[in-house]
């Protein structure tokens, strides 16, 4: 198990190395990245079955420094494995969505693999220092990706993005160093709650941790950076990776919160709850007013992250697996919709067709698109239906008002997505011109059909792929 975990963790780095030395103007780098991610998925599936045998208590440690005492500890459980699988499948979907020119860009693929390495590291670490290493480490590749490959020209947006993330990392660093001051070494995430820390430093630790994570999840008034960035990205893979960044904040809450809630973190919960609910409504209304599917999708993903955050903060740990199942599906659906929208947009631009009714001319894409939109809004087509239902019911039970607001926000954004689907499939009656749009290729159809099958089977058993 330890060696498998180590190999899995090193895979993206190895991929980076191969991409670095691959031929300049060919598809070698793309093939390497694709192969690396697919191998990563296989390794995760193997880890699933291994963790069933070994159990979730398995930890692997590596002494990095003796003075100061820094021990990196790694381990996996079903929760983190589900998220890992979601991340890897999203990245593969993003790769499929790249254009032929983008597939030749070595720097893009190198940075993507490096980002995936950081994300994988974050999801398997079990001590605070290595958690910080990966948490802070992922901002560099994303910053470079957005700056170099996302066609965002406004430099102030990029600086804002980097500084927001750096503030979050530094706040987390302050918390970690404060913990270090009283413990003089690495602390397991599961031990933070039992450390003997005086009140004021404890407050510093908790406020630092909470603010660092909140900065990653776009809660008003700290949401500017991600909304500015997401609205300008034209590359599907970078869009997907940018939307994975809030996952790091959410995961931080889940891992740190496991031990802190419900005692010390209680003071922060009502504040985050109020701001979270307000942001959900605010973003749902903005999503409704947008005339672009990708921006509506961004609103949808933000609202979903906030739903999971509120579920984490307000509900018991027994709902954690529901969150994991739901998050897994959400990551894949979000990535698929981003890529399919881009295919539709490219086909539309090629033919010079109107946005309204574009899907009518591309029937294969239209069917897939409709399937994913309906799944996103919560129809019973995947395990997200069951699990979101459980989470929202529990939220209603915990606080009726909060539940009501959450429900309203989700309904609004669902309505917005459905309306956009309607617009894209609706041809005005007086239209006489027929367009010839290129539909998606057979290979892509098979790929996305496979994805839909994975999601659909999860409706019956969320872990059907684990043997």
């Amino acid at each position: 198990m330890a060696s498998l975990l180590f190999v899995f963790l090193m895979l993206p780095l190895l991929g980076c190395l191969f991409v670095l030395f691959s031929k300049k103007d060919g598809y070698n780098a793309f093939n390497v990245a694709f192969f690396t991610l697919c191998t990563g998925i296989l390794a995760i599936l193997k880890l699933f079955s291994e963790s069933r045998i070994v159990g979730s208590d398995f930890l692997y440690s590596y002494q990095w420094l003796k003075h100061p005492n820094v021990v990196f500890t790694f381990g996996v459980d079903i929760f983190s494995l589900l998220l890992l699988l979601g991340v890897y499948i999203s990245a593969v979907i993003g790769l499929v969505g790249l254009s032929s020119v983008q597939r030749k860009s070595k720097s893009l693929l190198l940075l993507v693999l490096y980002f995936i390495w950081n994300m994988s590291g974050l999801l398997v670490v079990r001590d605070i220092i290595s958690f910080y290493l990966f948490f802070a480490g992922m901002q560099l590749p994303l910053f470079m990706l957005i700056g170099s490959h996302a066609n965002i020209k406004k430099s102030s947006t990029l600086s804002l993005f980097f500084l927001f993330n750096l503030v979050g990392s530094l706040l987390l660093l302050i918390s970690i160093l404060t913990v270090y001051r009283y413990n003089h070494g690495s602390v397991l995430l599961s031990h933070i709650g039992i450390l003997d820390i005086p009140t004021i430093p404890q407050f510093i630790v908790l406020s630092g941790v909470c603010t660092a994570f909140v900065l990653r999840i776009p809660i008003w008034p700290l949401h500017n950076w991600i909304s500015f960035i997401s609205s300008g990205i034209k590359n599907p893979l970078i869009y997907i990776l940018t939307n994975l960044l809030p996952l790091s904040g959410l995961y931080g809450f889940i891992r740190f919160g496991q031990v802190i809630i419900p005692t010390e973190l209680n003071a922060f919960v009502p504040i985050i709850e109020v701001f979270g609910v307000l942001t959900m409504m605010f973003i749902a209304l903005i999503g409704l007013s947008h005339k672009n599917f990708l921006q509506k999708l961004f609103s949808y993903s933000t609202i979903s992250y906030l739903l999971f955050l509120l579920s984490k903060l307000l509900l018991d740990d027994k709902y954690q697996m529901n969150m994991a199942y739901s998050l897994f599906i959400f990551l894949i659906v979000n990535a698929s919709l981003a890529v399919l929208d881009l295919f539709a947009e490219n086909a539309r631009e090629e033919a010079g067709c109107d946005y309204r009714g574009v899907l009518v001319y591309i029937p294969r894409l239209s069917k897939l698109f409709a399937f994913f939109v309906l799944m996103a809004v919560g129809l019973p087509m995947s395990s997200m239906f069951w699990n979101n239902f459980v989470l929202i019911s529990a939220l209603f039970r915990e606080s009726f008002v909060t539940g009501l607001w959450v429900m309203a926000a989700i309904s609004l954004i669902g309505l917005a997505l459905i309306y956009e689907l309607y617009i894209m499939r609706d041809v005005p009656n007086n239209t006489v011109q027929k367009y010839e749009l290129s539909d998606i290729s057979d290979r892509k159809l098979i790929f996305f059909a496979g994805i839909t099958l994975v999601l659909f089977l999860s409706f019956f058993n969320p872990l059907w792929f684990v043997f």
Partner: protein, 471 residues
Amino acid sequence: MIENLVYLSPLLVLLIGILMMLVSDKDYINNSRCFRIARLVLLISFFLVIVFYNKALLPMITQGSHFTLLFECLLYLCAFVVLYLSKKWFMSLNEAGNIFCCGIFAAVLCGCLLIESHNLLLTVVMCVLFMLNNYILLFNFRKKKEYVLSTKTYMTIMFMCWALLIGALGILYYLQFDFSYNMLRTDLDVNQNNPLVFASMAAIVVSFVFLLGLAPLHFGFTEALGETILPVISYFLLVPVVACIGSFIQFNVYVLSPYYDKLKFFYEAVALLSIGIGAIGACSVQNIRKIFAYGAVSHLGLLMLILYHFTVKTVDSSFVYLFVYLLAMGGVCSTLFGLKIKGEYLEMLHEFCGAAYKRPYVAAMMTVFIFSLLGVPPFLGFLGTFSVLSRLAVYNLYELVYVLLMMLVLAYAYIQVIRTFYFEESKAVFDRADKGIYTTMLFNAVLMLVIMVNPEYLVEDFVLMIETVFE
């Protein structure tokens, strides 16, 4: 007598090198040969330093130990890197490099004696010579002859420091103190409450502050670096730092311990001021060399903030930070040598627009070195920053918050550099970088990677050598 001469051989080799460079005619000895000889001289001297590592260069007034060996090795390595990189500059512009080589030899000579010094008189003389050498380099290698203001500022502060040093020596001589560190320490213990003695010690400390380029005496350093040539900047960012830190640690541990309580507020103020001024100054300039000069002020301020406690652990942490700083700053210098347009080395930020598209590897390495300076994981800088900040967390949480805030400000300045390299477009055609530049960057990067994967070499083995200063 002969034995002493043998032990002195590293310095004699350097002296011979200085003489050779001074008498060489630039028409007779071309730049390539001049730098080859300079590197050879430096290597021979380095070899002799290692062979006679535990022998005093000048018996009675110097002392060799593992600590001095480590700092001398770093000093030689930095000087070697500066010479190696500078050769490209002087050759491409076809300018005589013998005076520059001379300056490097003189700096190494003064640095070695400063590091090994166990006598206040020698320390002061070496400080004076070091300052003079720095001034000569700055004055001789001004980019334009009309740039005199910054060198005048440097000269003014230098004269002030000289006056302070001479005054300090005069007071101690008047009070009939012995200048050897051991005896001086005893005398200081007895005269702890004598304000004149304290003032003289403070004067020496001020000179170190100036040599390190720390605030509030940073004006000469940062301004002059913006107006000098790239080899001199590399020299200033690397060589004097090593020599002064090594000597400063020894001077504090061996001599100044009776005054720790009185001096610590001064050190703390200098450190905090340097961190702040360095970070804000870096944001306020558009000259890339000044950005890194201000950055260096901020980084050295952070180093001082930990160092001034002078316990075994803080000195260890500071050394780790210093080592990481040298690697990253050395890397930054090498990338600056690798970027030029039509034979002209660049200095204003806007000139680097789009460098990443034309010279992707150089730009990528610059990014790695900048992030390393910022302490962003997983680069080696994180090790240094963590080492220092974890110590700071133990001493003072408020200072920790201040430091992190200033790191954020400094990050803004560094991000502008990366933004210019990667996100701005330009049609400028960058010249092909020399293979030697790539080799230096690669070597630097590999070293950083090895230490990051297994930091025990740095944190355990080197630190054991550092701790000999407390024996």
